[in-house]
Each structure stands twice: as C-alpha cells, then as structure tokens.
Symmetry: D4
Subunit: 223 residues, 8 copies
C-alpha cells in the first residue's frame, strides 16, 4: 500500500492511529480506516469535510460523522466512563472557534475521556467565564481554544491550578495573520501552566489532555 | 538651527511641542527645550535616559525629571485640575510595564488631565482587575498598557463603555518578538472600543487620551 | 442555541450587539438578528456579502442592506440627530477603500452619530485634502481609511486637533502584504493623536469614533 | 511597594510565587524574595545573572544560587521525594541548551518533583537517545529542550506514551532567527502528545511538567 | 517564439533542458517539448497537473505521464543503469510528501541515475527509519523529503557519511506557514553534510543528487 | 591586496569607486583610498564613524570629513557647477533623518551635482513642505528621505513631475522594525514616479539622482 | 460620481491619469475611461483581465487591448518617436516574467517613449545577457524585470552607466514568498544605480523610466 | 564532563568532530580539543574570536589559529594532496564575505581537500567572474559565498556543470535582514545544481563540498 500503517504505535503509545483527513481522497480514507477497523481497532479521522464524509458513509454506514468537528470515526464500544468523576474542560472563546473546540471534544471522548464544554466564554465578556470558574477548576486539565487575540488561556491559566493546553485558532482577519496573533499571545502567556499546540490543532490539544487526564483519573479513582 | 520648530503647531493643535529625546544629545535637547521655554511655552521631552537628564539638569535646574517615565519637562504652572471629576485611567499589567505606563501618566498630567493609576492588574490574576473595575469604568478614557500576550485591553474593553487606548509594550522574550505579540493581540481585540498605538508608545497613548478627556470633561462640567 | 448572546452587554456598554457576518450562514444570521430584534433592540451585521444578504432579505424584507458597506441592519427609529452640530468625519484615500469607509460610515450612523464623508482625498493629490481641511477640523473625531502606503492619517493628524482613528485597508499588492504596509505606517505615524484599529476594520474605527463623538456632542450641546 | 505580590496565587494555584529576575535590580529581587520568605514561603527567581546573584548573596547568604540555571532560591526544606518512583525526564539536545535545561530541572526540583537528566542526546547522533529510551519512557512526563532545528521532541514524542513538553531554545544563528526555527518545528511536530512553551522558557516547561507529575505520582503511590 | 530555449545549456551542463510546467498552457508545453524532442533530445516537464497532461497526451501519445510526480517526459532510451551498484536514496517522511518525493525520484531516473525509495519513514516512528539504515548508508547521496517539522534530514544526516540533499515540503498547516517550518529546520540542521533546496523542489533535490551520483559512480566503476 | 579594486569601473560607469566604510578598519580605508587617490582619482568613503575618521585624518590631513554624513573624501577639484541651473532636491522629514539626508547630499555634490536641501518638512506639518513646493518642483530629481511611516515621498511625488528617489530610514521604534514600515510605505506609494533604494541608503539615493541629473542638465544646458 | 478624477494631475505632472483596473468592474472602467477620453485625453488601464477587456471592447471597440500586458488603452495619435534615437531597454529574466515586462513596455510606449525589448536573458545563462550588452548600454534607462532570485538588475547595473529601474515579480514558489525574495535582492543590489518599485509593478517601472527618458532625449536631440 | 563527545561519529561518518566555538569559554574549548587530540585525532574549532584564541594558544601553542577564518585547529599531518588534480573552488562576492569564505576554505583544507580561492568576483562587475570561469568549471564542486543580494551562486550555477553549494552571508544592512535577502535569493536560484546551507555557515558549505570532492577525486585518480 501507499502508507506504512504504524501498527507498532498502539503498543508503543497506548492510543490508536488517528488519520489526518485533509488532502486525502475519500477512497484513501476508506482504505486506511478499513485496514485498522478490520484489525478490531478503533479508528478516527479528523478534518473530513462534509461532502467527503457523505461519500465515505455510503460505503461505511456504521462510521459516525460529527459535522461541526469534521470528524469521522468508528468505535467498538462507546460506553461512558462510569464511576469516575474526572473530566476534561473544553473552553472556547467564541462561536467561530466551535469547529476546533469540537474537534478537541470529540477526539477526547473517542480516546476515552469525559468532557465538559464551556463555550462562548471569551474575555470581552469576562462574567461568562467567571460564572463557570468552579467547574473549570475541577477539571483534571483544560483545553482552551481561542482565536483573534488569544487571551482566554491566560485568564483561565490564572484561575486554575491544573494544566491548560492552549489551542490558537485561525479565526480573525487582517493583523490576525491566520492565527499568528493568537499563537504568539498564548506562547507569551503570563500565566504559568499553559502550553501550546499548533494553530487549529484541536486534535493535538485533546491528545495531550487525554494523556494527562488518564493519569489524573487513575489517581482519583484510588482515593 | 538644525530643526524647524513647528511653532504653528500649538495654534493648530492646542498642544505644546513634545520632544522625542532618544537619539538626541543633551546639548540638542537643551537647545530645543530652551527655545520653547523662552517663548513662555511649556515643554516636555520623552525617552531621556537618566545620565542624559542629569547632564541637562546641571544647566537647567528648574526642569523636572521623572526617572521611571524617562521624562524631562518644564511647566509654568502645575496646579491640579480643580472642581472637575473627570480623569484618565492608566491601567497596566505588570511591574515591567511601569516605564511605559508612567510615560503615559506623566505626559497626560503634563497636558492637563487628571490621572488615576491602576498598576499590576494583569489578566493572570484577574481578581486584581475586578477589584478596580468601578473606578476604571468611571474614567473618561482608559490607557491600557501591557506586554507579553497583551490581553489586558480586551478584558478592560469588555468591562467599560468608554474608549480604551491600548499600548503594547516590548516586555517579554522569545516569541514575543519585541512587542509584536502584544501588538497583534491588541489589534485583534474581540472587545469593541479598543484602538492601538505603537509598541512602548506611552506618550502616544496619553496624547490620544487627553484629547478625548478634554472633550468629555467639558461635557461633564456643564452637567 | 449555538451562541450565548451577550444580553448583558448593552447594559454594560450602552451599545447594541453587532454581528460579525463573515463565516456565518444566512440562517445563522437570521436567527441571531431575529432574537435581538424580537427583544425590541436595534441590530446590525457587518461583512454580509450581497448573495447572503439577498437570501436573508427574502425572509426579513424590513431589514436594510447597504451593498457598498456589506452591512445589513434593522433600526426601530432612524431619525437624524436634530439640533446638534457635532459629526464624525470619515476620510478615505481612494475609491478602492470605499467598502471599508462605508462600513465605518454606516456603522456610525446606525450607532447614532452624524457623519460627513470626505472620500478620494489621498495624499498623492494633496490639494483634494487641503480643500476640505476646515470641515475635517470641525469634526469631533475623524476616521481615516487608507490602504497602500497608509499615509493619510499622518497628514490629517497634523492638520486637526481632535482624535484620529486610523483604519488601514488591505488595498494594494506585492509589498503591501494584505494591508501590512498601511498598518505599520499608521502605527508609526509621526503625527500625534492617531490611534489604529485592525486592517479593514471599518466597524472598529466607527465604534471608537462614536464613543468619542457622544462625549463631545453632549459637551457641545451644553454650550 | 512597586509590585502587588499576588499573595492569593499560592492558594489559587498551589505553587509559590516565582520571580522573573531579568530586568529587575538586585535590590528589587532582594526586596521581593524577602517579602515572600518572611511569610515562611519558599521562593525562587529565574534569570538572575551571576554578578547580580553575587550581589544578592552578600545580603542573603542563605539563598542558593545555581549558576548554570541562573536561578536563585530559598527553600525551607529540601529533602528528596522519598518512597516514590515517579520522576520528570529533562531531555536536551546539545551542551548549548544546558542553561535552559537546567532552568527546567532546578525549577522542577524546587517545586517538589524528582528529575532525571538526559543531556546531549540530540538527533544528529540518534543512538545517544536510543540508549536512554527506557528511562525516558518511564518518566511521568518529559521536558524536551532543543535549539537549532528543534527535532528532538518529535523523536521523543514518537517513542514515549506520556506527555512531552517541548522547550525551544534560541541556540543557533542565521536562519535560526533567535529560536524561531526550533519553535516552529515543535509546533508542527508530527508526533502526538507534544505541547510547546515559549523560546528559552525552561521555567514554563518545568511548571507544566510538575503539574502533571504531581497528578501522576499520586496515582502511582496508590498502586 | 516566446521563449529562448537555452540550446547551449546541454553542452555547458551535460543535462537536457527541463521545463517548469506550472503557469504554462498545454499548448506552450507541447510546443517547447516538441522543439526539444525534434532535436532528438530527451525532455521532461515538472508540475504538470493531471488535466493538462491528459490534454497534452492526446497530441503526443508517446510522452509518458507520472501522475503522482506530476511529471511528463519523453526519453529515447529508458534502459536501466546496468553493471553499476550506485544509487540515490529518496527518503520521505510521510505519505503527504509523496508528490515531492516522486518528483525527485522520477527526475533522477530520467537524468540517468538508479533510485531506491524509502517512504513513510518519518521521525515520529523512528524504528521505520532505523530498519532501513544500511541501505540508505550505501547510497551515493540521499534526497530527504519532509514537511511539518522537517526533522528527517537531521536524523538521516547523523546516520550516513555521504551528502544529504534536504527538500522541505509545504505539507502542514497553521504555524507551518507553507513549508517555512520545515525549511528553517533543515537550514539549521545540527547534522553535518546537509544542504537544502527550495520548498517542494523535488526536481532541484534530484538534480543536485544526480550531479553527485554521477561522480560517485564513475569512481566506483573504476574500483 | 585583499580587495580587487574595480579599476575598470570608472571607464564602464563614468563614476569613481566609492568605498563602503562600515566594517573596514581605519588601516584598510587608508590603504584603499590612497591607492585610488594615487591614480589621481577622486575618492569617497561612506559610513565612516567619527573616531575612525579622526584616526585616518592623522595620516591623511588633506582628506575632508563630514561628520553628520559620516563621509570622508578627497577631491582634486571642488569648484561648483557654474553656468547651470539644474540641481537635485534633497528633501527630508525630520531631524533624525539628517544623517541619511546628508549622506545623500554630500555624495551628490562629490559626484558633481548641485544640491538644494529641504529638511525637516515631514507630513505631520504639511505647510512646511507646501512652502517649498516650487523649488522642489524645479529640481531635476528629488531624493526624499523619511523614516517612521515614510509618507513624504508619496506627497512629494504627487506634487512634482520629475523622478523621486525615496530613501527609507531606520528612524523609529516598535512596529517600525528598523525601517521596514517606511520601506513598505514607499514601495506602495500611490504617487507615480517614485522608486526606492535600501533602508538608510542615502548614498544609493544620491547615486541614482546624479545619473538622472546629469542627463537632465546636459539637456537644459543645450536650451 | 464615485471617484474624484484628478483632472489637475495632467497639468501638475505632464502625464495622463492611468487607471488601476484590478478590483474595478467593466462598467466602472468604461465610465472612467470614457470621462477622460471625452476630454480628448489619452487613457490607459492596467491589470484588465481578458474577460473583462472583452466585455469593455463590446462597448468601446476603438480601445486597444494588449493581452500579454493585460492593458487596455486609447490614444489619439500613436505615431512613433521620429528623428530621435533614445529608447528605454526593457530587460527580463524569464518567459514567466513576460506579463510584467509587457506591462512596462506597453505603458512606456503609451507614454511616448521608444522601447527595445531584451527578454529571457536571465542570469543562469549569462551569455544571453552578454550578447545584448551594447544595446542595453545605449538605452537612456533600463527597466529590469525579474522574479525568483531577482539577480538580473545587479548584473545589468554593473554593466551600464545609466539608471536601472528594477521590477521584482512574484514568479516563483516556496521560499519566494510571492516576490519577496526578488524584492529583497533588488533592494540589496551591490551595483550602484539601481532603484526599485513594488513587486509586479511593471507600470511603475515604466513611469519612472519615461520621466528619465524624456529628460535624456531632449538632451540628445540637442546634440 | 558536560559534553558527550560523539566518539562514534568518526567511525559513522569518516570525519573528525568539529567544535562550534561560539558561546563556549576558552576553558571549555581547550578541554574538548584536548580530549580529541589526546585520542590522536585531528580537531578543529570554528568561530573562535581572536582574544579567545590567544588565551587558548598560551596553553596549547601547537594549535594553529587562522584569524580571518576565526578557526583554531590541530592536525597531525598537514601535507598537501599529492598526485591529484581535483580541487574545490571557493568563490566569493566581496571582501566583506572573506570571513565566511575563509571559514569554508580552511575547513575544507583541514578535512583533506585541495582548495582554490576566487575572491571578490561579485556580479556587479561580472567580468571579474568571467575571467575565472575555466578554473571554476574544472573544480569538482564550488562553494559560492555571497551576501547582500546573493546573486553569485545563480551566475556560477549557470556556468558550471558540477554542484554548487551556496553560502549566504549576513553582510548588508537595511532590507538585508541579517542575511535573509541572500538566503532567499539562493533558495530561489533559477540555475539548477545549487543547494544552500545556513547564513554565514562557511563550515557547512565546506563539509558538504568535501564529501562530494572525495567521491569525485577517487573517480579521477582512477582515470
Ligand atoms: N467587521 C467587524 N470587525 C471586527 N469586529 C466586528 C465586526 N463586526 C462585528 N464585530 C464584533 O464582533 C462581535 C460579534 O461577533 P460574533 O458573536 O461572532 O457575531 C461584535 O460584538 C462586535 O464587537
Ligand atoms: N524564566 C521565566 N520565563 C517565563 N515566565 C517566568 C520565568 N520566571 C518566572 N516567570 C513567571 O513570571 C512571574 C513573575 O513575574 P514578575 O512579577 O515580573 O517577577 C511568575 O509568576 C512566573 O509565572
Ligand atoms: N519543479 C521545478 N522547480 C524548480 N525549477 C524547475 C522545476 N522544473 C524545472 N525547473 C527549472 O526551470 C527551468 C525551466 O524554466 P522554464 O523556462 O520556465 O520552463 C529549467 O531549466 C529547470 O532548471
Ligand atoms: N552607504 C552605502 N550604501 C550602499 N552601498 C554603498 C555605500 N557606500 C558605498 N557603497 C557601494 O559599495 C561599493 C564598495 O564596497 P566595498 O568594496 O566593500 O568598499 C561601492 O562601489 C558602492 O557601490
Ligand atoms: Mg494556572
Ligand atoms: Mg468596551
Ligand atoms: Mg493632530
Ligand atoms: Mg508520544
Ligand atoms: Mg552525515
Ligand atoms: Mg509625481
Ligand atoms: Mg551601473
Ligand atoms: Mg550549473
């Protein structure tokens, strides 16, 4: 085949292969996802546009497509995390950041974490964030998604004492430079405990968060 | 002489000439300031480093030097704005932004406005800002000074209903790129009512604010 | 719903919610504008392309669409500002900057200010500007819109003694870098009293100007 | 005083205040550290150059200075983490990255984590990294420090299944652009589980890692 | 005609003219290729999109089109390099880099070198590269193609003792900036023996490699 | 010797060799200037700092040093251009641009043109420029020197009908980026007839202007 | 109307108004060109794409369209410059630069200069340029158009003793950054006598050249 | 010790360890060089400033220091390459590029190649290069060093049929951006057969060239 599926990775890293759908044809996505699914493994593809997803779903009607997140996946067994109170907070600034926030949320759920969404709580109306501060503080880790000036992770980072994964988005125009303004802001956050992933990389934010959440939850379960 | 002092400007704009001290020798600053002072006009120079100021003060002991602000000035008549409740809020994020904030504050006072300082109220400890929100809301205009991620003007802009002049500073390192991160963040502010001046331009922030404050105060005085 | 409409903002800021139309579907814009209108509040959406506007107008024929400005709005009560001589000057360099200048003008009128337009008065034919200088000087505040080398705000700022809000546009090509040249020029203006908003942000320029104009007009009215 | 020490932070975040020493005078650092120490709290200052540190140590001989890390601190109680096998791996590419790696290592130890150092294991001699892979895999979290092409976090991220905090350094010249090349490389890592902090921000890398390590260790201790 | 075909070049450089197909119409490509072919010379065009190629093939069915590489060529005489063990290694990181890697591979074969492909051996799964290290070491020269963080040439350069030509690709998003991250990484490689060509310039990588391979092979043949 | 003096150039170009003094030692400058002078040719060195010049003048007291321009030269025969009314206008925005303007003026005079200086006529006080417009219009060519927002060449270019050579300077701070703002503004000038040389390249501006002035003057002389 | 046609310009500058066609509709172009033509003035529009031109030509069949140059014009009187040997050299590097070179050539001819074209003489085959060096030296001024590495103006500038106007083009890919590489190269030319206009600004190159050529030709005619 | 000397490298790559002297103290350089020398291996350090070298030479008088190249080395056995006609051409544009060119030349000689220097043959006086073209063509490989517009490798690349390693230098000012202009020009070279190393990386250019020269020379020796 054209791609060496990294079978060894699940063993090495404890996570299934995740496919970057952009730039791949429907046929390529089907072929890779099938290969993984036929091994009995869960599989998820990000950045699958609606039209492409619909084409794929014709051949694979048991795949699930989340339109906001542009994510297509197949999972053996989708039951919720029972008897466990740990969760990841997905926080986002504005409705335009939704696609990226949902990419993070759906990925995190797929990888086995519980998620609570705190959307449209941007810094220009700070009371919306403050109203939710207790619930965000209780999360094991927060994924904070923001475009434009990218200020939200600094404010959240100052309010919580657990890790914040900041995801800049390309939302904005002009001196935004496709997300550069938010990216730089997040890298320069004056709050401690904030680390950053690539612009629009909701998937990456979730992946980091799940790694942390797993460790945190095993800790809590023991309590 | 080497410089055409723009005598016409005070008439045209209602403000005295202000000297940009950087790159000028002590002798040049003395000569320009003297020329203006000898006309009976007030005069102020920004960005005068301590050593240079000390040299100048030997010749002109009646000039006043503010070390934090790096400002040297002479003013006929320094009495406060009596019987008037309007003021400009100078808000700044961290102690490192002090030089720029004070450049703004001293300039604004020199130009005839009252000033209230709200320093070290950066977004990573948002309660410090929230504690001062009423007093900032009451200002006719706010000058908000911040480096690093430059998030403060967005938060202030969302809390007040009067203009915010944002002044990015070059405070930071690495992906700060000498103030670019704060500048871009402020230009992309999702709060309405925020406009921006050059990096480290405390003077410019103050000048804009005084223009607005004057109009606002005449309004209030009439009430 | 997908968006938390910030109902509290009008109270906090004294201005109605304004919708950023770009990236929203016709259906989303209708739903938000309806929600606001049905509260009896005025509502305006910027960056609504012609086709989208036409689709919306089918459902909401009482909305008004300004094609040059790409603005769609609904206002209870559009009467002019009577018995008041204050106005905002909207100054622009070339015909290519019209879209942004009109975004500013229509927004300012919607928010309740009077506006006077001074268009196509760019610096390469300086007499066109000089012919209008008295009327621009009399404005409470100027919004100066320019692309390419972005020189106009410096010239205007040197001629007037009230605030200038500079709006860089993305008009140009090559070393213009989508408005970067105009943006940098404006941030580096050697005229005092110039502050800057994001590239193509006519809305933001207007919003700042209206805040100032309101204060200035109440002052004048008292005279 | 000139700075509002954020006393509330320790409560809010569970970590002591850490001082950014750059741009502060010896006198300022002494005054802040004393204020904190006199409350009985531990205190650490980063980016304290040798000369400044020596000046401070004259007044405060019980402070400890780490020259490679440029860190000055005081800690009530420095005993090691007993009866616990969790640790943070600090991995760095070359000897030039040592200052940043040690800033991370000393900060992490100060904040209460155990640290294991894997230095000079850059990708141009990959066997040096492979020789240490088991020990790095066993860490709860890795802080991976690299300048120049910044490739190391991608390789480490592909070998381990726990979080990697990548710290780009400004080591390099020419097209390195003061660390931009390493920063961009890390943000674009094709390995999952990598998040990034600012250029040369060893402190930030450590702070994030300690947050994670704490959660992981409580989990393990329960086993 | 519209182009001066550089007939002198083959004599000067020992290589046939190669056409840059992008931005040329099918008619222009046919006319240039025909002119060269009719002299009896081999001819190749890079960056010929599928639709354009199909149009050309209608008129010139004896041209050969490689779809992955976007290359169209005509060669008198395609026999392999017999009795010679030298080859160029074309190494690439991910399946998305295939277009560029194949542009390099097909160009090199056209110019008379043997090629061995090592695809999908990116650094995030380093074992895939290590499995192939002997064969890559035996190549006379390696062309290493990678996008995103561009780390692969550094790892390969550290493992082999012959020249590495690094080809950054524009694969990635966000802080990738159309290949800038990979380009900067490769220019800053801490491995010796790595030189770099333009982003996505598979052709250029191959051309350099063939020049080297020719010299190396004549050397070996003599042994 | 260490440098191949391009003896052929004067023949080829009709101008003497001009030395770039920056980065050369006093000894190197003396040795090159002597070599040229001893051929009987005029010689000029730019960017010679005061200390270096003083050192050189000890050995070559007949050299002339212009401190503002940082230029050192020797000329056989310095008589003015008699019986000829053509001249180059050197126009500059502010006193900070003086060094570059004088580099242009002294170079042009050295190369045999008459020069008229119009200094400190920046756009923020446009009347200063307008007062001089007739004399600038009469020049054969203008060299327009400006830093910060670099607006002056656009205004001059719109007022005159002969060529304008724009010289951006690095004067400014913050978002000036060492002259980038002025450079971009000048390249994007909406006035026709403006071409641009490198930042701070007063020499280059003069050299271009003298080439043009020579042609224009021979034309006039014939009238 | 929507545009203030700068009628005064022809008087001020001796050149007709030239229209920037990009971003204007066919209707707008017709209306402006008609207004000028109906005054009896010549008129030219640059950057008119083929489809738009065809639409315009339906209404104005006496306009002339040059497809390569994307230029549309009307000229009373197109006779050649008789009895005069002066001309402008338009030199270009590759066939891809043709559009810009022809924009320059057609503009220069329209403005009344004679033009000689030297196309496809890029530096990678330097003999092609050297073969034409005498004819280029004899031009009153050269417009040198090049993309990619933009080296041609430096080589030409070193060979001629009259002004070179360098026009960078956006031809290239990858690290070309839409013409930035050629622009920077030209601004840094080590040849004296080179000035630069905006990327792809063939019009601007021609306009500057014609200004110079006019002065030079009047000089020669007198001889 | 603080550095893991990569003993395995010589075996792996056939070249001795080379030390990057910048940022290392004299003591560190002595200690590393001694370690290698005491194994009987040759050793070289680049970027050793004169003062540092003099300090080191006091302890190690048998080391050799080349001041122009800023290189310090020790070699068992410095005899020339007898009975072999292959050599590397080191070509450089101007005298300012000498430091980098000599870094390349001395490194190449140290690594066992013969070198011929072609200095001060920049493109603004193309005859200087053309005079040397035969000798450059005969080299096995050329290292072409240039700052400013970086045009030289394109011209050389078009004249020779063997590989060109281009080394951009940071020589220049203003829009040079510390070597960016030369770097971009070289990456965009329209000549085939040019690959690029980092700005000012004379060492890297030499290293690549020696790898190629070795293969070429063994070929020739066999002839
Ligand atoms: N053209 C515009 N440019 C920048 N901000 C805008 C613009 N139009 C509206 N806004 C702001 O965007 C906010 C609404 O964003 P949204 O919730 O995405 O519709 C409003 O409150 C305005 O402050
Ligand atoms: N090296 C460092 N890099 C980034 N942030 C730091 C560093 N050292 C300390 N800090 C942060 O800077 C804050 C203190 O800043 P300051 O009040 O200026 O001393 C601390 O709370 C830390 O979060
Ligand atoms: N993909 C490519 N990238 C860079 N240069 C190329 C490419 N393909 C061909 N070339 C070069 O472009 C030249 C031909 O350009 P052109 O005359 O525009 O077809 C050839 O001589 C090659 O050196
Ligand atoms: N200030 C300057 N800026 C740009 N180029 C200059 C300057 N001064 C001299 N030059 C050019 O530099 C060349 C000499 O460089 P060099 O051989 O290094 O002295 C001269 O021929 C001039 O063309
Ligand atoms: Mg926190
Ligand atoms: Mg507000
Ligand atoms: Mg003003
Ligand atoms: Mg991993
Ligand atoms: Mg190697
Ligand atoms: Mg003009
Ligand atoms: Mg010349
Ligand atoms: Mg070649």
């Amino acid at each position: 085949g054209f791609a060496k599926v990294d079978h060894n990775r699940k063993v090495r890293q404890g996570f299934p292969e995740i496919i970057f759908g952009e730039g791949k044809t429907a046929a390529q996505i089907i072929s890779i996802m099938d290969a993984i699914k036929s091994r009995g493994d869960d599989v998820l593809a990000t950045r699958v546009a609606k039209e492409k997803a619909e084409e794929i779903l014709k051949y694979q009607p048991d795949f699930i497509y989340n339109e906001t997140a542009n994510i297509l996946y197949w999972k053996k067994d989708m039951q919720p995390n029972m008897g466990d109170t740990g969760y990841i907070a997905i926080v986002c600034a504005g409705t335009s950041d939704l696609r990226v926030a949902e990419e993070a949320a759906v990925t995190a759920e797929f990888l086995g974490s519980d998620v609570r969404r705190f959307y449209d709580v941007g810094v220009a109306g700070i009371h919306r964030l403050l109203d939710n501060v207790e619930a965000i503080r209780d999360a094991t880790v927060s994924v904070v998604v923001a475009g434009m000036e990218g200020a939200l992770p600094s404010v959240v980072g100052g309010l919580v004492s657990r890790p914040v994964i900041a995801v800049p988005t390309s939302i904005g125009y002009g001196a935004n430079f496709q997300g550069l303004s938010a990216l730089l802001a997040m890298l320069n956050s004056c709050a401690s405990g904030v680390s950053v992933v690539n612009i629009d990389n909701g998937f990456g934010g979730a992946y980091n968060a799940v790694m942390i959440d797993r460790m945190a939850r095993s800790a809590r379960e023991e309590d």
